[in-house]
């Protein structure tokens, strides 16, 4: 059984006053009489027994209830078999953050889209509805071909918090779900850009309003020891206020007795952003808020305290004295680096001499040769970012194994093996490379690479639309806990995940234990810019004519017959009862 118009079932509500009237009539004040037979019209059948009389009222109630049910079924356009007319409508809703912008009446664009979608479903007489949400990854909210009530209910639960994106992949998916020439509706807050080729049966409805806005476009938190540095970028889009009060509230962290609240008066430039940098001691979560405006979502962020995970570094036995001295001087000035314990295999960056299994080998073997250039470096390799070797005298020994990264003539100065081991072929007692900037830069790149292979998120603070990247270890089972649920993470090493559909807190779990946490902030400068929003209704270019109107001819008429029969029977029964 299906219903062409399920709202018609609301007519069943008439049963409530019907039953109430029945009981109210039963509670009518009784009048005691000496002889009831003098009031009753004598009837031969009544003489046979009082059973018929006793149930006259109940029979009337049942018949009236049957009439109400039949009326509700008729209004709901009940279909017993599936020859019922199928009318499929595909709705697509923009899932970007700007859909949460308030209009002059205080309603969000998404709320207007919900109302418009419900109206569109009713007008089209849709029996099946599919709802999609656009985003960096298209999402199916209801369906395919769900009941209209369920589809609209899913739309009520939907929140548009996504990043700026191209809706076309979702629209093309919608066209595949709808079928060629079948109606589709897209609800957004911006008109289609010129030259955009839309599906021919798509009706584009923009419900936005152009307005000014002030919002955060980025936020960053950096913790060094007990000191927390919060950097905020505030932008003004359009002719909004020239300045704004920015409130930053630092909750007390571990070991701190009380938090701190600061209000910064930020002058907003006409173009570009204003940068605010604040420092707190012993801060826990930091809450940043701007005064509420038409898009309050981009004015409130919470920067959680990220637990520090220092990289453990160990120097192996056998390193020469110059190499050990140079490495220790570098490590002493490098933040978030801790000496690792001997014998610990996991997550330890081990420096050792040439010919060992250390992650990074420093030193030479064989006959040393000195070079002053020219040095050839593999362009674009992350280990060589900003490494400038001009003016360097580099003394190298026997070529190390692996892929050469820096060479001088036939000598391999730096190489990398398949498993990530790095060999620095340098004799520091005869070179001056440790006295130029290339040395700390090279080692910093090595440490950065080691951090990137550290289990957990490669970045802990992301903006909307930025992809997640996690590092996993082989042999373990990982799960990513999102605001919308949990999903397994497959693969070992550095695993790239698609950008999250919305902001929130993301936790990486290994075998059920939390490993690392990242937060996606609800900030996207392109979504905060509301100046280009507007209202427009672009009709579909072509729609199959049979879908252009609902079909009343398929309506089942037996409920109407049942309704009339019940009313006639009720009339007969009540007449007999009287």
């Amino acid at each position: 059984m299906s219903f062409g118009f399920p709202w018609g079932l609301l007519a069943l509500g008439a049963l409530v006053p019907l039953v109430a009237a029945y009981f109210l009539r039963r509670r009518q004040k009784p009048v005691v009489v000496s002889a009831l037979f003098l009031w009753r019209t004598p009837r031969p059948r009544a003489e046979a027994g009082p059973r018929w009389e006793r149930f006259t009222r109940e029979s009337s109630l049942l018949l009236e209830a049957l009439a109400v049910v039949a009326a509700a079924l008729f209004l709901a356009d009940v279909r017993l078999a599936e020859p019922a007319r199928r009318h499929h409508l595909v709705l697509v809703v923009d899932g970007s953050l700007s859909m949460s912008a308030r209009g002059p009446d205080g309603t969000t664009v998404l709320e207007r889209a919900r109302r418009e979608a419900a109206k569109r479903v009713e007008e089209a007489g849709a029996t099946h509805v599919t709802v999609l949400a656009t985003g960096l990854s298209p999402r199916l909210l209801a369906g395919p071909e769900a009941e209209p009530s369920k589809a609209l209910a899913s739309l009520e639960d939907f929140q548009a918090r996504g990043a700026d994106h191209d809706p076309m992949p979702t629209l093309l998916w919608a066209q595949e779900l709808a079928g060629s020439g079948r109606p589709m509706a897209f609800f957004t807050d911006v008109a289609p850009r010129e030259g955009l080729v839309l599906p021919p049966s798509l009706r584009w409805t923009a419900l936005g309003v152009a307005r000014d806005n002030v919002g955060l476009v980025s936020a960053r938190r950096r913790d060094e020891g007990r000191e927390t540095t919060v950097t905020l970028w505030v932008a003004r889009f359009g002719g909004g206020p020239a300045s704004v009060d920015l409130q930053v509230r630092a909750l007390p962290g571990v070991g701190a007795k009380e938090g701190a609240t600061r209000v910064e008066h930020v002058a907003l430039p006409e173009e570009g952003t204003a940068t605010v940098r604040l420092t707190f001691q012993g801060a826990g979560d930091v809450e940043v808020s701007l005064p509420d405006d038409d898009l309050p979502e981009d004015g409130h962020v919470t920067l959680p305290a990220a637990g520090t995970r220092p990289l453990e570094v160990r120097l192996a036995q056998g390193l020469g004295a110059p190499e050990r001295d140079a490495l220790e001087r570098f490590l002493q000035s490098t933040p978030e680096v801790a000496p690792g314990a001997a014998g610990e295999e996991r997550e330890v960056l081990l420096f050792g001499p040439q010919g060992t299994d250390a992650r990074v080998t420093v030193g030479t073997t064989g006959t040393p040769r000195s070079f002053v250039g020219p040095f050839f470096a593999e362009k674009g390799h992350p280990l060589l970012d900003d490494v400038q070797l001009s003016g360097v005298r580099w003394t190298a020994g026997t070529n190390p194994p692996g892929r050469p990264l820096v060479t001088a003539g036939e000598a391999v100065l730096v190489s990398e093996e398949e498993d990530g081991r790095v060999h620095v072929n340098v004799d520091l007692s005869r070179s001056n490379v440790q006295r130029v900037s290339a040395w700390p830069v090279l080692l910093a790149n090595v440490v950065r690479q080691a951090r990137r292979t550290h289990e957990g998120f490669t970045r802990r603070q992301l903006l909307l639309g930025e992809p997640l990247e996690v590092v996993t270890e082989p042999g373990a089972r990982y799960t990513l806990v999102e605001p919308s649920g949990r999903r397994p993470v497959f693969g070992a090493g550095t695993v790239g995940l698609p950008p999250p559909a919305g902001p929130g807190r993301f936790v990486l779990e290994r075998e059920g234990d939390a490993v690392d946490t990242a937060v996606v902030l609800p900030l996207d400068a392109r979504e905060s810019d509301l100046r280009g929003r507007g209202s427009v209704d672009v009709a579909a270019r072509e729609v199959d004519s049979e879908d252009a109107r609902p079909h009343d001819s398929d309506r089942a008429w037996w409920p109407l017959v049942l309704l009339l029969s019940a009313l006639l029977a009720d009339f007969y029964v009540t007449r007999r009862g009287g």
Binding site: R25, P30, V32, S34, L38, W39
Partner: protein, 277 residues
């Protein structure tokens, strides 16, 4: 009541009665001074009753048959069904009529017997009738016919007065025949409430039978009230005809009227002013 009873006597039928020794001519032969008949002597007859003058004239043993002088029984049957308590006035009127009959009978030298046709078939005699009537509860959930079935068979009596509203569906002819059985005279004292005689109309109501509890939804329009009046008249006509066929008299008393008015009006055939048998 105390003022009414001394000036009244029951209108006993002019036929011989049965009963204890008294002043009223009995149906049985006896030893009173009043000659009733003559007949031939039969063995076992009292030789003292032989009419020797007739023996001398006819040479046959002629016996004087004399009637007994008895005090005939008066039986008052009160319907104790719930419809008799439809209103306080109706119940009180029924009690008063029954009590007046008992009082007048006692003053008249008759022996009144009160039989209550209720849940239990009670029967009291003589002075206890007043107390029994005072304690009478109209609580039977069925009609007079069913209540009579629970009672002992009626004994012959001189006069039987049945106090009821007679508003029930039954074979009225059979009922009246049953009530008149063994009685020299029968009076059906029908006590009715004003609502029985002329029900008030108005809005719709749920009519509930006072005895069976059966309900009927009805809109009390003028047409419905007229139909009730029509059926009531027909019922009364049937009852009166059945009473006449059983040599009884139907007396319809409205509970609205005081007892003096009823004695002077509706119940006048039952009582004779100034006393006398």
């Amino acid at each position: 009541m105390a003022r009414l009873a001394p000036g009244l006597s029951l209108a006993l039928p002019r036929v011989p009665h049965r009963g204890r020794v008294g002043e009223v001519r009995a149906a049985s032969t006896g030893s009173s001074m009043e000659l009733h008949d003559f007949r031939a002597y039969q063995p076992g007859d009292d030789l003292r009753q032989l009419d020797w003058n007739a023996v001398a004239r006819t040479d046959e043993l002629i016996l004087r048959v004399r009637q007994d002088e008895v005090s005939p029984r008066v039986e008052v049957v009160v319907d104790a069904s719930r419809s008799m308590a439809l209103s306080e006035r109706k119940g009180a009127c029924a009690r008063e009529v029954a009590l007046l009959v008992c009082e007048v009978a006692a003053r008249q030298g008759l022996s009144p017997t009160l039989r209550v046709a209720g849940v239990r078939g009670e029967q009291v005699q003589g002075p206890s009738c007043r107390a029994a009537l005072r304690a009478l509860e109209f609580e039977a959930r069925d009609d007079l016919v069913a209540a009579l079935g629970r009672m002992a068979p009626p004994r012959p009596c001189g006069l039987r007065v049945v106090v009821s509203d007679f508003l029930f569906e039954a074979d009225l002819a059979a009922l009246c025949a049953r009530l008149s059985r063994g009685a020299a005279g029968l009076f059906l004292a029908q006590v009715l409430d004003a609502e029985d005689l002329s029900p008030s109309g108005g809005e719709g109501a749920r009519l509930v039978d006072s005895e069976s509890g059966a309900a009927l939804e009805e809109l009390l329009t003028q047409d419905v009230l007229a139909a009730y009046a029509r059926r009531f008249t027909e019922h009364q006509r049937s009852l009166r005809g059945a009473a006449l066929r059983a040599r009884g008299t139907l007396l319809t008393a409205s509970a609205e009227h005081p007892l003096e008015a009823l004695v002077a009006g509706a119940l006048r055939p039952l009582f004779v002013a100034g006393g006398g048998a």
